[in-house]
Structure formats: structure tokens, C-alpha cells
């Protein structure tokens, strides 16, 4: 097997007595969607934070594209191609949708210390950004400030921003949260095509989406992965049913 795009080995993180991440190992292979599920408080977000670099693990290894990234900060990891969406939308609220995506485009070009040329007249920024908005179906709302977008539109914008980074892997933290059934269905279809571009580590509560999309599923309970496998294996795993779906053994 080729080396995985993202590989996490024996990651540990405690907050006081709470072991939020208790020896987690998983990997993300190219072309796949790997879903991470688990009950509330299982430590999913803590894990994503450590992978993206906003939290420092106590111990363990994180390798991305064959490189140890544990010592890099969030911005450096993003520059390597690790794109992330947030559980609660984290956009530049005053900027329009277009300018949010343009920021990612300029970041990808590595040109933030240019002081003179006005960005709005810079087609090397506006055109790729507009193309990304079109891909997620948000072109009509390009000039609306992020703060005035609907909840679902903000999730779409988050994805467009991540796309604009031209990433080598996506970390998507509950992209379906708060979306209506129609929006969730559309996004599911969209993510399905996205895996060809870069593999996705998907944290999601919407089980319909997970079962429709995931090539593999890992189940996180109390900071530990209790099972990993394809959708059918996970559905039929007795331990998962007991620990997660709350069924008696």
C-alpha cells in the first residue's frame, strides 16, 4: 500500500484527569473519505484540533505527506495543504463571501506581504475565488458579507475557502451541522465528488451522510478508537452498537 496522506500514531492529550485523546492511531489514504464518528464528548473535535495544529498533543506522531508536522503551527500546516473547516463557522465576518475565498487564494499564492495593488482589481485573485464560489453554488451571493449569509451558506463558504487552498487533504468538522435535509443532501453529493481531489477526514453526526459517503469509518469513544472498518463492518460491530448506539449487547 502507498504511504497514507495523513497518518496519526498513538496520539495522546489530557486535560487534567480527562484523557481526551487516549492513544489514537488512524490514517487517511488518498482518494478516500474516512469518517470519524462517536458520541458527544468522545474527543472528536479535540482530535481535529491536534491534527490541524490549534492544540498541541501530549505525545504521539502526526505525519502528513511523509513529513512529521507535530512541530508546525496551524498556518504552516495549512500551507502544506491541510485544509480545515470548522464546527462553528469561522469566517472573516465583515468580508464578503468573495473576499473570504480571495484570502485563501492569496494565501495559496503566498503573497500576503504585497502592499500596493488593490485586491478587488486583481483578477489573479478574483477569478479563482469566483470559480470556487461557483463550484459550491454560492456565486450569486459573492458580494454578501459573511455575517449576513445563512447558516448553510456559511458552511458552503467554508468549503469553498478550503477548496481554494488547493489542499492535499481536507479536515471537515461537522460540515452538515445545522443544515436542512435538502442542504445536507446537496452537500453529500458534493463531498462525494470531492474525494477525487483530496481525501477527506470527516467528522459528522449525520449518519445518513456518513453511511452514504464513507469508505471507512472509525468510532471514537472516550478518546479511544473502538473500531475501524467499512460501513457494513461498523454497522454490525457489537461493541459499536453497545457503546455508541446504546443497544444492549
Amino acid at each position: 500500500m502507498a504511504e497514507p496522506v495523513l497518518e496519526i500514531r498513538d496520539l495522546k492529550k489530557s486535560f487534567g484527569a480527562l484523557k481526551a485523546t487516549d492513544g489514537v492511531s488512524l490514517h487517511l489514504a488518498s482518494g478516500e473519505i474516512h469518517a470519524l464518528i462517536g458520541p458527544n464528548g468522545a474527543g472528536k473535535s479535540t482530535l481535529i484540533h491536534q491534527i490541524s495544529g490549534s492544540l498541541t498533543p501530549d505525545s504521539g506522531k502526526i505525519r502528513f505527506l511523509g513529513q512529521d508536522i507535530a512541530g508546525l503551527d496551524m498556518a504552516a500546516r495549512a500551507r502544506l495543504g491541510l485544509a480545515r473547516s470548522f464546527q462553528t463557522s469561522s469566517l472573516a465576518q465583515e468580508f464578503s463571501a468573495l473576499r473570504n475565498v480571495m484570502l485563501a487564494v492569496q494565501a495559496r499564492q503566498g503573497t500576503s506581504l504585497r502592499f500596493f495593488r488593490p485586491v478587488m482589481r486583481d483578477r489573479s485573485l478574483t477569478e479563482p475565488a469566483m470559480a470556487m464560489l461557483e463550484r459550491v453554488g454560492l456565486a450569486g451571493r459573492a458580494h454578501v458579507p459573511a455575517a449576513e449569509l445563512s447558516h448553510g451558506e456559511r458552511r458552503q463558504l467554508e468549503i469553498a475557502t478550503a477548496l481554494a487552498l488547493g489542499p492535499k487533504a481536507f479536515l471537515l468538522d461537522e460540515p452538515m451541522a445545522g443544515m436542512g435535509p435538502e442542504g445536507a443532501k446537496n452537500l453529500t453529493g458534493f463531498l462525494d465528488t470531492l474525494r477525487q481531489e483530496a481525501p477527506i477526514l470527516l467528522v459528522e453526526h449525520d449518519m445518513d451522510a456518513v453511511f452514504a459517503l464513507a469508505d471507512r469509518v472509525s468510532v471514537l469513544v472516550y478518546g479511544r478508537i473502538i473500531a475501524t472498518g467499512d460501513v457494513d463492518e461498523i454497522r454490525n460491530d457489537p461493541e459499536v452498537r453497545r457503546a455508541y448506539l446504546g443497544e444492549p449487547a
Binding site: A75, A92, L103, A107, R108, L113, R114
Partner: protein, 327 residues
């Protein structure tokens, strides 16, 4: 893109013309004092334009910009004093009374001081940043007071105003025009920065630093650059201020000065291109009008400021030009 002349553009143009017209009217009416008042407005506005880069665009509430305002002032004062006494500076470098050279020195000195202060202060954020910038400014203030070579507590007089090639700077109107010209340059720089890639990153760092890091731009570098550029412009204004008053003193470095610079921005409208100009006009007007009525004008300034903060958060520009728009 849009070629519509906005309400803000009209307001900005009117303010710029108004400030330019005042000294000419004053000269026509033989009231040179008002020229000095307008010059004071232009210089304070320039200082606040500098601070507005850090505070308005970057959301960096520097409570220590008086340090740079004062350093600029001391650059002008020290160079002029050495030149006046025909004493070379350190290492035998000759001093100068040429304004452009003095401005360059003020810019460089403030940049060099702002870099380490910014590098330490920007490791923190929020209230810590406010207090640390305040503390660093205070450190420079106490240094100026305890260092007797340049006047200590008493400050430093500039006996003959520094010179500008081809201009008689002793006359009020030419001096005003120099300051006004630099103010316009400062405004152009602010406008250019705000619309640039750097400005986009800086404003994103204010709105949401996590977002900036998530796309791969480290907020620290952007902020440090902004802080340094901001300090340099405020320092340039300080050099002009010293030349206007022909005097520089520790009071230019004091924390009241830092507070006043923030006040100028807030009175005018935070992050707005002409906010500092509107704010400086209001401030000098208050100072002059209230100061004419009562010695206790600062009491009323305090009440007005409190009112603006509690009830009129857009400042004067918010009032006359409406809400701000981002492209």
C-alpha cells in the same frame, strides 16, 4: 468596479478641502493663529492615521503609540540641537536641520524601536496587549525623564525651526502645506494598504485570527508588519509636531498622549480612511472652543468621549458617511 461616488467619498473630499481652506481664509483675514490650529489638526491626524493602521485595520489596541510620537519629536529635537550647537552626533556623524533627513531618521528610529516592542507585545493579545504597549511607552517616558542630556523633564527647545528645501518654514502657511502634504501621503498609504493583499490579511486578522491561520497565513507576521509601519507614521507626525511647537518634551511620550491618539480615531470613526482627520478636527475644535470657555475643558472632553463610546460608536464619520462597506 463600481464607479458610483459614495457618500463617504464626498464626506472625505469635503473634509480634505475644508482643512485646506481654513489656513488660506485665516491668512486672508490676518489671523495666523488659525493656521497653526489647522497645522496642529493635520499633524495629529497624521499621527492617528498611523495608529489607525494598527488599531483600525488590525484591531491592535496599542496604548503606547505616544512612544513613537515622542521618539519622532525627540529625533527632530536632538538633531536640531546638535546642529544648532555644531556638535556632531555619535561617531562624528554631522547633525542636520533638514526636515526630510529628520523625517527619515524619525521613520527609521521608530521602525527599529517598534520591531522589538511589537515582537514581545504581539506574543500576547487582548488586555495584555493593551497593558504591555502602555508599559513599554512608559519605559521610554521614564528613560526620557531620567536622561538629562536632552533636557530630562524640561524637554528640549528647537531654537530655529528646521528647514525644508525651497520653503521658508518659519512662516505658518508653508509649514501647514508641508504637514498637509504629508497627511495626504499618509492617507494615500492607508488607503493603498487597506485595499492590498496585506490589508486583506490584516483585516482578517482583526476579524478572525483563526481563519487567517487556517488558510495558512501566520497572523503574527502580518500584525508585526502593521505595528511597525503604524509606529513609523506616528513617529513622522511626532517630528512635525516638535517642529510646529519648536519644542519637544516627555509629555509627547506620556500615556495621556497615547490615550488621545486613540480618542482621535474613535471620535472620527475607527478604521475609516478619514476617521483620524474628522477626529483631529473635532478634538482640536473642542480643545480650542471649550478651552476658551473654561480651564476645565478636559472634564467636558471626558463627558463627550463617554457619550461617544456609550452611544455613538461609529464616530463622526459614521454619522456623516453612514456605515462602512467592504468590497
Amino acid at each position: 468596479m463600481r464607479k458610483v461616488v459614495t457618500r463617504e467619498a464626498i464626506a472625505n473630499g469635503s473634509l480634505a478641502l475644508l482643512l485646506l481652506a481654513v489656513p488660506f481664509a485665516a491668512i486672508a483675514m490676518d489671523e495666523p493663529f488659525y493656521v497653526t490650529l489647522a497645522t496642529r489638526i493635520a499633524i495629529l491626524a497624521l499621527a492617528a492615521v498611523g495608529l489607525n493602521i494598527a488599531l483600525g485595520l488590525g484591531g491592535l489596541v496599542s496604548f503606547g503609540h505616544a512612544a513613537f510620537f515622542g521618539l519622532g519629536g525627540y529625533a527632530a529635537g536632538i538633531l536640531a540641537t546638535h546642529a544648532f550647537n555644531a556638535e556632531p552626533l555619535l561617531l562624528g556623524i554631522p547633525a542636520t536641520t533638514s526636515m526630510p533627513v529628520i523625517w527619515l531618521v524619525a521613520l527609521v528610529v521608530c521602525g527599529l524601536v517598534a520591531l522589538p516592542i511589537g515582537a514581545v507585545s504581539l506574543r500576547t493579545s487582548g488586555v495584555y496587549f493593551i497593558m504591555i504597549t502602555l508599559a513599554f511607552a512608559q519605559m521610554i517616558y521614564y528613560f526620557a525623564i531620567s536622561w538629562p542630556a536632552y533636557g530630562g523633564q524640561d524637554g528640549l527647545s528647537i531654537y530655529v525651526r528646521n528647514s525644508f528645501p525651497g520653503v521658508n518654514t518659519a512662516l505658518p502657511l508653508p509649514l501647514f502645506l508641508i504637514c498637509y502634504g504629508l497627511l495626504l501621503l499618509g492617507l494615500v498609504l492607508f488607503w493603498t494598504l487597506r485595499n492590498s493583499r496585506f490589508g486583506a490579511a490584516l483585516q482578517a486578522a482583526r476579524q478572525n485570527p483563526t481563519r487567517l491561520a487556517a488558510v495558512g497565513i501566520a497572523p503574527f507576521n502580518i500584525r508585526l508588519t502593521a505595528f511597525t509601519v503604524s509606529a513609523m507614521i506616528t513617529g513622522l507626525a511626532g517630528a512635525l509636531f516638535a517642529d510646529l511647537n519648536r519644542f519637544t518634551s516627555p509629555s509627547m511620550l506620556s500615556w495621556h498622549m497615547s490615550g488621545e491618539l486613540i480618542v482621535l480615531i474613535i471620535l472620527g470613526g475607527r478604521g475609516r480612511l478619514f476617521g483620524p482627520v474628522a477626529g483631529a478636527m473635532l478634538f482640536v475644535l473642542f480643545e480650542f472652543a471649550l478651552g476658551g470657555i473654561t480651564e476645565r475643558w478636559q472634564l467636558f472632553l471626558g463627558l463627550i468621549l463617554l457619550g461617544v463610546v456609550l452611544f455613538a460608536r461609529g464616530g463622526l464619520m459614521g454619522f456623516i458617511a453612514g456605515r462602512e462597506r467592504h468590497g
